[in-house]
Amino acid sequence: MGSINTFQLRLFHRSHHLVQDVGKLLNLLFGEREWSHYVPVVLKQNPILGYTDIQYGVKWGPIIDEMMDQYNRFFRAAWARYNFDGQIPDTIFSHTDMGESQSVTCYYGFDHLTVRWHEGFKPPDLGFPTEKHNQVWSIPLKGRYAAYNSRCDLSLDGRSLMNTPTTAVHECGGEMMDVWKDCFHHVPSLAQFEDYKPHLEALEFRWNGRLVRVMKPKLRRFSEKREFEWSQWYLDHWDNCVDEAWLAFNGLTF
């Protein structure tokens, strides 16, 4: 099967004229074999907002030069986020009339954190400005993190699916990664939760009211000690992308 890249493309229209031969456009993006590689296809042309969003999977790195050359009169810019096999955090780059930018780690924003503690546990004071409702903490906290937004369709059975703005995702986890160091290095205060894994039901991150990331401690399988690891659901999309160049391009701030 090789590697699977989940690719999220946003193509900014030059005018009100939409690409009509969308099948040809997709085949150019999909590469030689002309199919999406283990990722469900989602496509939406939005004439009001002036862009087209496409989700698909490619085996190797995303190549969009040829498509952008052929459709130059339709698209003034392409922005792309992609996840490489769930191994490296999401990466972002742009392709405009000025050329293609470097790929850099893509950061996503959150503005609210909900902490759900287990029944019966008396939560400690961790120094966050918290509204406490019994076992549920509501924390207005702004920050950014790196993420692994794979939309691979394998293992879509199961009951642990969550919706995203594109297609459902399964939980990820079990890797020996240090989530606080790898993803949340811009919000070091959150690492405090690591020690409370046995007492936590879930951490829920939201952006503008939308659930964008969920972390749940679960017992590590095949481990003799009673160890916990994080199950994670990555629900990010363009709405909570806070990459600096992306924000500048769209005239947004974080």
Partner: protein, 284 residues
Amino acid sequence: MTVLFPRSDTFTIQLRLYHANKTHYPTDVGHLLNSLMPSKSSYWVPVVVHQDPALHYTDIQYGVKGYPFFTNFWEEYRKKFTAVWGRYYDDRYQEDRMFCDTGDQIWKSTVEGTDYSDDDDIYNYSRTCVYGFDQMTVYWRDGVKPPDLGFAVKTELPIWTIPINGHYYAANDRSYTMLDIDPSRAIDTPTTPTIDNQGLYFSETPDWPVPSVTQPLDAHRADIEAVELHWQGRRVRLMKPALDKRNPEQWIWRQWYLDYWDNCVDEHWCVFDKQLFPAYIQLT
């Protein structure tokens, strides 16, 4: 830039293609679109594709001039899909139509009393599509004292919330030829934005859902800001009274149709959908 185009025979097509095999659904979506769209191009309708292997189907929106045909599609995808269910709005007619094609024969239809005499016209193999709602919300204008119309109303003036089930016909046009005239008229739908249908059809009398309940509102339209219909919390239709620009004496209802598969209550489709997949995965 304003694109004005004489619109006729523009079909807005919404397909739900049921995957034959859950784990091996078609991923050659470029070819799939090419097999569906005449001249491999969508006609004045933005393209939307949504594949959801967890839910066993691929949804596709596109536009066609004239009649849609599925001959190429079935030739290529006979083994990949079990059925095509479709809803379409044809701007020569007034309401969305619904059809089913299982590929065994073209337009093998679930429609009773179908007249197969005209093989070319999809209209003969389809029937009017029915959409559902479970709540009506009436927004009264500022300063208006709403009349007692005898509804079981939850009132938080000036808004009435009326729990009522019903169904209606609709005209879900998703073509974008009109969109650049005035984007402020556009409202989002589960696929792409739509504008109100004023000036096309329905200009004078709305096809009131549940007339006995809703028709009394018609007499009070000068006092009403808007009427909304909801389905499971989603707004599926918006109606606003306005004075006709061409005839300022005349009140009309501007209507936005925001329907999708979620509130489609076509009897046969509901049965098909549930029989095939009785155990939907519950998405959290």
